[in-house]
Structure formats: C-alpha cells, structure tokens
Amino acid sequence: MIRILLLITTILGFSIGSANADPKKVGFIYIGPPGDHGWTYMHDVGRQYMESQLGDAVTSTYIENVPENADAVRAIRKLAASGHDLIFTTSFNYMDQTLEVAKEFPDIKFEHATGYMRAPNVSTYSARFYEGRTISGHIAGKMTKSNVIGYIASFPIPEVVRGINAFYLAASKVNPDIQIKIIWAFTWYDPGKEADAANTLINQGADILVQHTDTFAPCQAAEKAGVLAFGQASNQEEFCPNSHLTAIEDIWGPYYAQRAKAVVDGTWAEKDTWDGMAEGMVVMSPYNAKLMPTDLIQEAVEMEIAIKDGSLHPFTGPIYDQAGELRVAEGEVADDFMMATMDWYVQGIDGELPQ
C-alpha cells in the first residue's frame, strides 16, 4: 500500500538553445512523507536546495513512504528504470536494497544515507548527529530536576545506539545521578505510538524527553505535560514553544548539490562522507532562552566550538561498556569504525540493548 508520488519540478530559468542538453535526473527515496517536519522533511529541504543551486542542470523526483523491505527494491528500481542518473536512498535499512538495484544498473550512481556498504557505483553519506547528542546530553544533565531522562528510540541500529551513548556520556558527566529510560518504538513514524511512549516515560518520572523518531508528537506530549524536550532532525520549537530546549538539525542541501554537480560534470566517484558540525551538516537549533539559563547556553555554544575545532570528541576515553569492559582507553577517542558499528551500551545505562 505504498503511495507513489512523483514530483517533477518545473525547471526555472531561460536556457535558450541547449546549453544543458539533457538535465540530469536525480531521484530520492524517502522513508516518510516530506511533511513529517523531521527526518524526511530535512532531506526534502536538501533536495530543493540542490535544485535551487543547480538550476536547469538537474530535475528531481522523489518517492515517499517507502517501507524498508522488499518494496524498497521496487521503488528504487522504478527510479533507476525511468532514467535517473543519481539516486539517493535516505534511510539505513535501504542498504541491501540499494546495493541490489545498483548491481543491476552499473551506469547509475547511488548514494545511501547512514549506511556503510559501498560499491563502485554506490556511495554512502551520513552526518555526525552524535555531536549534537553530546550537547543535548550536557543540557539535559544540567536541566533535569527528577534526574530521569526519557529517550524514545526507533530501531537498534548503530546510528541510534551511538546517539544514546553520546547523550548519556555527556549527561552523566555533568550529573552522575542521572538515569536514562529508553523505549524502543520499532518505528520511525507513528505519531500515536510516539505520543504513547512519551506519556509512558513522563508517567515514569522523566522530566526531559529525547527522541530518535521522526514526528513532533513526543515534543507535543512534553508540552502538554509541562516537561522539557529536544526536537529531532529539524527545529520543532513552533510545536512546543514551552518545552523545546533545542534540536539537532540535519543540513543535507550542500552535500546533495555537490554530488549532483559531480554527476553533471562527470566527476562522480564512489566515496564515504561522514560530516559533522565542522562542515555544517549538523547544526543546533537556537537554544531556548526562556527555558535555559544564560550560562548554560554559553556552555553549549562553547561545546559547539570545541567540537568544530576537534578539541572535544563525544567519545573520549575511558569508556566502558555495560559489562565493564574498557572499549576506549583513557586519552583516546573512538575511531569511525567503532562508532559506525556500535552495538553496545556504555556503562551506566540500564536495560539490555534489543538485538
């Protein structure tokens, strides 16, 4: 029951003759609708930015609400078969499907978000959202009164686990008494379920909510219950003005423009991109001055600067896992491979990570 919506945007500008004989077609596969005001919304903002930058050199299409199962193969193949030159698949569990279709269409370029499997015509790209989680964790550690933080997680994939760990490390550093309660919703997108999870966490004493799901339902539930929350993927302050502390924003536009340009120029090559705050792919929304003390905002801004210049790394040792095993030695930082495959909780988090 996936709905397929093709959007072929009009090409603006006046190209007389044919400076660009054939505009390159860029396709996107979305996990949710662009109207989620979260993950997919930000990819769509990126897509529009790409179009505005490249003008009539590209046209773009997207298919929304594509489930992360065999249907994804169908959707990706549909884009590939309809003459697209570059296809972005924007969710982790499109990994196998992207590679499968890429094998059938060696001349088409593919880009898979948040994954780690590449091929000669498949690149991967992701953003270092965990850098933002570190700042959220610091703020939560300082702001909580009940010392209970509620965390609504989606699926137990490295991306999400890394976020939880980065958040907890920063929060427990400034507040050793902090307890983090995690609910795995096993969905990216279900406002009702996300609200249920939020209310359950609030009912169990959480006074700050963190989410790694895509809608603003948790932040709205926080607003209603009078507790604090962090937005997800985009600035969600307008939906919960009295509880929104800040949000981690994903800025994809420049990357999409750069990759599409590479296809237009014929210079595209397979690579892995993992950019963070320093490159501007991860940005913190304005800190809520109504809720946060000025010196805490100052600390958060300083942390941003430190992360950008490399003097602060979210995973700086010593880091122990739940079993008490030393994962990152004192004075060292976790390498990209360890972070990209993280499937363990750091010491101090209760509960087992679902497999």
Binding site: G32, D36, P191, G192, N199, T200, Q204, Q220
Partner: protein, 289 residues
C-alpha cells in the same frame, strides 16, 4: 509501582486503544451486512484531516466532528456506489479507497501540517466507544432491524426473497462503518495526538480489520481484542522503561499473529466458520438472482 503510575498506565491504555475500538466496531457492522471494506485506513485518514482542518478554520470542535463524520459518509458512500450499484470487487475497491484516502488526506492537509491546536480531553470519547459497542451489540441481538441486518449478511438471496432491501441494508452498514472510521480518525487528530501529519494513523486501520476477525464478528469481543492489543503494546513500553528486556518487535506483529491464530482455530471446524463469519461476506448481490 505506586498508584499514580498505575493510574497513568491505565489512562494511556484507554487513550491509545479507543481509535481501534471505533474503527473496528464500524467495520464489524459493515461486515455483518456482508460487505468487506478494506478502506478503513483511508477513511480514518480523511476523517482525521477533515476534522483537523475544520477545527483550525472554524475553531469549533462540534463542527470539526460533524464535518469529519460527513467525510466518512462521503468516502464510504463512494465505496457503496461502486460495490453495491456497479458491483465492483469489494477487496479491490476497498484497497483503492485506502490508497485514495491516503493521497486525498495528504493533499487536504498539506498546508496544515504542524498547525498548533488545543487538544480535546479524550475521556469523553473513551466512554463513547464503550457506549457504541454496547449499542451495536444490543442492535444486532435484541432488535428486529438488527436481525434483518444479520440476515442480509448471512444470505442476501433469502432476505431479498423475504422482501427486505439488501442494497439499503448494506448501504446503511457501509455508511455506519465509514462514519465510525472517520470518528476514529478525528479522535486521533484532535484528542490522541493533537496534530495533523501525513499518514498519521500508521496502520491502525489494518489492525482494526484484523480485530474484526479476531473478535469473530462479535461486538463485545471487539472491546476484548482491542484492549488486549492496546494494553499489551503500552505494557511492553512500560517494561522497557523499567529496564526489563523485552522484544518490542514482537508486539508490532502480535495483533496479526493473534488474528492468524484465531483464524486457524475457527477454520479448524466447519461449524465454527458457519457461526462466525457472515456467510455472504464479499459476495455481490444481483437483484435478478
């Protein structure tokens, strides 16, 4: 577990389960008259978006629910026209209605995503859902009209021969189902998660359809089934938050698994099938025959 936390859990279960009850009881009435409408999800979404948009424009909750119910009547009326008059295939038409509803609701709601509204207290609707289930049960088993409705679902030819209007009864069943689905949708966008987001029902329509089978077409069992499905899903969230290791994935498939088990049980015995599913379900009615 302190008493406050316990009450909190019960409240969350009631609020989360109510849309399932509304949608499932509506679909049950439709199926009892012998029509399978797979458009539940689509009608819920259209009901959700029309209620939300009306509320934003007029500021009136009453009007929001009226418009939403009307949208359910219109959507299911369209379905009724196709399957009763044009005698199209019910399964295909219902699926088409869902796909249509998803698209239509996204289109209507495009400019209203993220508009803030004041959510309504859900407990009135929780009570209403229990009342409706009771009334439907009373209607089917204690009134003459209810008997006629059931007869049409069992054997439309016999009912026709007795002089009852099969088309009229089925039309009423379909329209009631449509308005209940719209009510479920409007409850979601105005009380449960007060917002409009595309596809916000997230598969609850399909769970409602499964519930009707799970309940073996008995109104009272809709409540039992809905509260098992809803309760289990909220309880597992509580267990997770308490740090108890629990396979959350399991609960996403639990409603469907439970329905399959019920299907296996009722199909193991011919008599049980006869007693449960309306015999004329999905069979179109030709007046001439």
């Amino acid at each position: 577990m302190s008493i406050d936390v316990f009450i909190g859990v019960i409240q969350i279960i009631l609020v989360a389960t109510t849309p399932l009850v509304f949608a499932a009881i509506g679909e049950l009435v439709t199926e009892k008259t012998g029509v399978l409408n797979l458009g539940v999800e689509g009608m819920m979404l259209v009901g959700a978006v029309t209620a939300f948009v009306t509320l934003v424009i007029t500021g009136s909750y009453t009007l929001a629910f009226i418009v939403s119910l009307l949208s359910g009547v219109l959507m299911s009326g369209l379905f009724a026209y196709l399957v009763l008059i044009l005698m199209s295939n019910q399964v295909a038409t219902g699926l088409a209605l869902t796909i249509f509803g998803i698209g239509l609701s996204s289109m209507i709601g495009k400019n209203y995503i993220g508009t803030p509204i004041q959510g309504l207290n859900p407990y009135f609707f929780v009570a209403l859902s229990f009342l409706i289930v009771f009334l439907v049960s009373y209607f089917f088993y204690k009134t003459k009209l209810g008997l006629i409705f059931r007869a049409v679902g069992e054997s439309h030819s016999s009912s026709h021969a007795l002089g009852y209007s099969v088309i009229k009864v089925r039309l009423m069943g379909i329209l009631f189902g449509g308005s209940m689905c719209a009510l479920a949708g409007s409850y979601m966008s105005i009380c449960y998660a007060p917002m409009w987001q595309e596809n916000m029902t997230a598969g609850r329509g399909w769970i409602a359809l499964a519930l009707v089978v799970f309940a073996t077409w008995k109104p009272g069992r809709i409540l039992v089934g809905a509260y098992i499905f809803g309760g289990v899903s909220i309880l597992q969230m509580n267990l997770q938050a308490w740090g108890v290791n629990f396979p959350g994935q399991f609960f996403n498939m639990a409603p469907y698994l439970a329905t399959m088990i019920v299907l296996i049980i009722i199909s193991s015995n011919r008599l049980r099938i006869k007693l449960s599913a309306p015999a004329s379900l999905t069979i179109p009615f030709f007046k001439g025959r």
